[in-house]
C-alpha cells in the first residue's frame, strides 16, 4: 500500500524501459480509444461534444462513488492480498442502513435545509460505523481463521459471505429495486457550461469523496496506525517483530474500508435515488475493476481507476446501451489483467507475475 505514486523500478536496460512505457501508455491508449472514437463521430455528425461532456461529468461523479468502494478493495488487498469479495455487499448494506435511518428521522423532500444536512450527516456517520463494524466482523469470522490456509480459501468464504449479505438485503427490503425520496433534488442543474450540465448529485458525490480521500491518505501517511498499516502491508512478519500488533492493524484496515463503503452507500442512495439488494454485487465488481485498473494496493490508483471506470460506464450506458455496460467494463478488466496486471500506477505484485 503506497500513498505516493510508485516509482518505476530502476532498470539499466533500455528494452525494459521501453517495454514498461509501451504497456503503460498502451493501457492509456486503450482507455482513451472509446471516448476519442465517440468524440470524432460526434464532431463529424453534429459538430458538438456536449453529449460526451455530459457523459464525462456523470462519469466523474459516479466514478467518485466507485472510488470510495475501490479504496476498500485496495486497502484490504494491500495489506493481506485478499480480494474482499463481500465488500460490494457491505456497500449495499450501507445504503440499506442509511435508507432505514431516513425513515426513522422522518427525512422527506420537504425537510428544511438545516434538518436535512444534520439528518444526512448523522445517517452517514451511522452507516459508516455499521459498515466498518460489519467489515471487521466479516474479517474475524471468514478470513482470520484461514490466514495460513491456501490463498483460495478466504476468497471462497468471501463469496459465501457476499451471498449471505445479499440475502440479508432481500429479507430487509425485498427482491426488487425500491425508489427512495429524492432528498437533495439531485437532478437539479446547478451549472450549465455550454450545454454540459452539472447537477446537485454530481456536486454531492465529489463533495463527499474528496474530503474522505484526503482524510484517509493523511491518516495512512501521517498517523501511527497508518504507519503500522504500511509496515504490515510490506512485510507482516517483520512488522510483528517490530512490535506492531498485526491483528489490530488488519482490523483497522477492514474498519476503514467498511467506513468508506458506508459513506459510498449513503452517497449512492442520494445519487441514484433507488436501493436494491443486488446493487452491491455490480458496483463491487466495477469498483474492483477500478482498483485493478489503478494498480491494486495503491490508494491514488484506486481513485484514478474509479474516475476512469465511472466515465467508461457512463459512456457505455449512453452510447452502447446500459444492458451491455457490465460486459464492457469486464472486457476492460480482462484486457488490463492480461496486458498490464499491475495497473496504471501500481507496482508488479506476486499475483500479477
Amino acid at each position: 500500500m503506497s500513498v505516493d505514486t510508485a516509482t518505476p523500478r530502476p532498470s539499466g536496460r533500455l528494452s525494459d524501459t521501453v517495454r514498461e512505457a509501451a504497456s503503460k501508455y498502451g493501457l492509456i491508449a486503450v482507455l482513451l480509444a472509446l471516448p476519442v472514437y465517440l468524440a470524432i463521430t460526434d464532431l463529424a455528425s453534429d459538430g458538438s461534444l456536449t453529449d460526451l461532456g455530459n457523459s464525462l461529468v456523470l462519469g466523474v461523479s459516479n466514478g467518485a462513488i466507485f472510488a470510495l468502494i475501490a479504496l476498500g478493495y485496495t486497502l484490504v488487498y494491500g495489506i493481506i492480498e485478499l480480494i474482499n469479495f463481500a465488500h460490494g455487499d457491505v456497500f449495499m448494506i450501507g445504503s440499506f442502513v442509511a435508507f432505514g435511518l431516513w425513515g426513522n428521522f422522518g427525512l422527506t423532500e420537504t425537510t428544511g435545509a438545516g434538518g436535512l444536512v444534520a439528518g444526512l450527516l448523522v445517517a452517514m456517520l451511522v452507516a459508516m460505523l455499521v459498515c466498518g463494524t460489519l467489515n471487521v466482523m466479516i474479517e474475524r469470522v471468514a478470513y482470520k481463521p484461514l490466514r495460513s490456509a491456501p490463498r483460495l480459501a478466504p476468497l471462497i468464504t468471501a463469496i459465501g459471505f457476499s451471498f449471505i449479505l445479499q440475502n440479508v438485503g432481500v429479507l430487509w427490503l425485498g427482491s426488487s429495486p425500491i425508489s427512495v425520496p429524492d432528498l437533495i433534488d439531485q437532478s437539479h442543474v446547478v451549472l450549465d457550461i455550454g450545454g454540459v450540465k452539472i447537477r446537485n448529485g454530481d456536486l454531492l458525490a465529489v463533495a463527499v469523496t474528496a474530503p474522505l480521500v484526503f482524510v484517509l491518505t493523511s491518516f495512512i501517511s501521517r498517523s501511527r496506525l497508518g504507519k503500522a498499516m504500511r509496515a504490515t502491508a510490506q512485510d507482516p512478519d517483520a512488522a510483528r517483530l517490530m512490535g506492531i500488533n498485526v491483528n489490530t492493524t488488519i482490523s483497522v484496515t477492514f474498519l476503514l474500508g467498511g467506513m468508506l463503503a458506508g459513506a459510498a452507500g449513503l452517497t449512492n442512495l442520494l445519487y441514484q435515488t433507488s436501493v436494491w439488494y443486488f446493487q452491491g454485487f455490480t458496483a463491487g465488481l466495477i469498483a474492483f475493476t477500478a482498483a485493478v485498473m489503478g494498480g491494486i494496493g495503491n490508494l491514488k490508483g484506486a481513485v484514478l481507476g474509479g474516475l476512469i471506470i465511472g466515465c467508461i460506464q457512463q459512456i457505455s450506458d449512453n452510447r452502447i446501451g446500459a444492458e451491455w455496460t457490465t460486459a464492457v467494463v469486464f472486457a476492460y478488466l480482462v484486457l488490463i489483467m492480461v496486458f498490464r496486471p499491475q495497473g496504471l500506477i501500481g507496482e508488479a505484485t506476486r499475483e500479477a507475475g
Partner: protein, 393 residues
C-alpha cells in the same frame, strides 16, 4: 469392508461406481414414470456431470474458475441452435435435418441428432474453455478467479442481450429471456423417442450413462500422467515447472476438459428442459456448482458426486418442498426459497472454516487445505499406508 476394497486395488473405484450406478439405475422403477423424484434425480445427474467438470479445473488443477456457468450456457445454446426452429428460415424455410427423428424432421430450422450435437457441444465448449483459459495463463490465484468471473458475466450478458445481435438474414444470436424453445426431444438410434410428457425414466438412464462416462474419464485422468501433472501444478507451480511439467499445455487441457463436461451437461439439460433461457446462466450458478465441490471435498471424485447430489436435492427438493414453509410457521413473512443462495453461501463459509477438506476428502488435498489451520495434526497422525490405498505404485 475396507479389506475387500483394498484387495480390489486399482479397480476399487470402478467396482464402487458400477455398484452405485447399478443401484441408481433401478431406482426410478420404484416411482411413477412422471414422479418429481425422478425429475430431481435427472437434474442431480446433470449437476454431477458439471461438478465433476469443475472439479477438474478447481479440484485437480487448482485454478479457481468462477465463470463455469459460461460453459453450461455455451453447451445449452449449441443444443438450442442445432435442435430447434431458432434459425427457422434456413434452407428456404425447409430446414436442415440430419437423423433428427420423425417429428423434428418435418420442422423448419436446423435439426441434428442429439448425439451429434452432444459431440459438437463438447468440442465447441472445449475450445471455448481453452480460449477463456488463455488470458489467465500468466496470472495466478485470485486474479484467475476474477478473469473467469468476468468471462462468465460477459457470456451471460451475451445470452441475455443476444436477441439484439442479428446476423445473416436476421437470425438472432439467442432469444434472451424469452428462451429458445421448444428444443427437440431426444431421439437415440435404436430407442423409442424420449417423451418427457409420458416417461422420465429414459432421461434418467441417459444421464446415468453420461455420469458413468464422466466418472470413467475422471478416474482414468486423475491417475494418468496429465492428472499427476495437474496435481503437481496445484501444489506448487514453480516446482512442477522445474520438474518438466509444461504449464501452458497442462493448464489449457484442464480448462478444456473441465469445460467440455459442462458443455455436455448443458446440452443435455437444454433438451431435457426443452428450452434455453438466458437467466439460467447467472453468476450464482457458478457458485452453486462451486459449493457442490467444496462441500464434497475439493479434488475428491466421490466427494464431488456426493456434494452435487446433496446440493441438487437441497435445491430442488428440500428447500422448496420440505422446509419452504418453516419460516412462515415461525411467524416470519418469507419463503425459504428466497434464501437458497444465502443458504449455499452459508454452507460454503461453514465448510471452508470448519472442514475445508469437505465431506469425503481426498487425502492429499486435505493435507494442503488443513495445513496450518490446526487440523493438520489429525491428518498427519493417520497411518502412512492409507495415503495411497487405492493406487498401486
Amino acid at each position: 469392508m475396507s479389506s475387500i476394497l483394498d484387495k480390489l486395488g486399482n479397480n476399487k473405484n470402478f467396482v464402487l461406481a458400477a455398484l452405485c450406478l447399478g443401484v441408481a439405475a433401478i431406482l426410478p422403477l420404484f416411482f411413477d414414470p412422471l414422479s418429481s423424484i425422478t425429475d430431481n434425480f435427472i437434474t442431480a445427474g446433470a449437476y454431477v456431470v458439471m461438478a465433476l467438470g469443475l472439479n477438474i479445473v478447481v479440484g485437480f488443477a487448482g485454478l479457481l474458475d468462477l465463470g463455469y456457468v459460461a460453459f453450461y450456457a455455451i453447451g445449452a445454446y449449441t443444443m438450442g441452435w442445432f435442435a430447434s426452429d431458432h434459425f427457422s428460415s434456413v434452407n428456404g424455410e425447409k430446414g436442415i435435418h440430419v437423423l433428427a427423428g420423425e417429428f423434428a424432421g418435418s420442422l423448419p430450422g436446423i435439426h441434428l441428432n442429439f448425439l451429434m450435437i452432444l459431440v459438437v457441444a463438447v468440442i465447441i465448449v472445449g475450445i471455448a474453455g481453452m480460449l477463456i483459459g488463455l488470458p489467465t495463463l500468466r496470472l495466478r490465484g485470485d486474479y484467475i478467479a476474477i478473469v473467469t468471473l468476468a468471462f462468465g458475466e460477459i457470456i451471460y450478458r451475451f445470452a441475455v442481450n443476444g436477441d439484439e445481435i442479428t446476423f445473416a438474414e436476421g437470425y438472432k444470436l439467442t432469444n434472451g429471456r424469452q428462451a429458445i424453445a421448444p428444443v427437440d426431444t431426444i431421439d437415440l438410434p435404436g430407442f423409442a423417442p424420449f417423451d418427457s410428457a409420458f416417461n422420465l425414466r429414459p432421461y434418467f438412464w441417459l444421464v446415468l450413462v453420461l455420469v458413468a462416462l464422466v466418472l470413467l474419464v475422471n478416474f482414468r485422468l486423475r491417475d494418468s500422467r496429465l492428472g499427476r501433472a495437474w496435481i503437481a501444478m496445484r501444489e506448487d507451480e514453480v516446482a512442477a515447472a522445474s520438474m518438466g511439467v509444461p504449464l501452458v499445455k497442462t493448464k489449457l487441457l484442464a480448462y478444456a476438459t473441465g469445460a467440455a463436461f459442462g458443455g455436455m451437461s448443458g446440452a443435455f439439460l437444454a433438451s431435457y428442459q426443452a428450452s434455453v433461457q438466458a437467466d439460467q446462466f447467472k453468476f450464482g450458478f457458478s457458485i452453486f456448482l462451486l459449493a457442490m465441490i467444496i462441500l464434497g471435498g475439493l479434488g475428491s471424485i466421490w466427494g464431488v458426486v456426493l456434494g452435487a447430489v446433496l446440493l441438487s436435492f437441497i435445491n430442488t427438493y428440500f428447500i422448496p418442498e420440505v422446509f419452504n414453509s418453516v419460516p412462515r410457521s415461525l411467524g416470519l413473512d418469507f419463503d425459504l426459497t428466497v434464501l437458497n443462495f444465502g443458504i449455499f453461501g452459508f454452507l460454503i463459509l461453514l465448510v471452508m472454516v470448519l472442514r475445508p477438506q469437505g465431506l469425503l476428502p481426498e487425502r492429499r488435498r486435505a493435507m494442503e487445505l488443513t495445513e496450518g489451520i490446526g487440523a493438520g495434526d489429525a491428518i498427519g497422525s493417520e497411518p502412512e499406508t492409507s495415503v495411497d490405498a487405492g493406487r498401486q505404485p
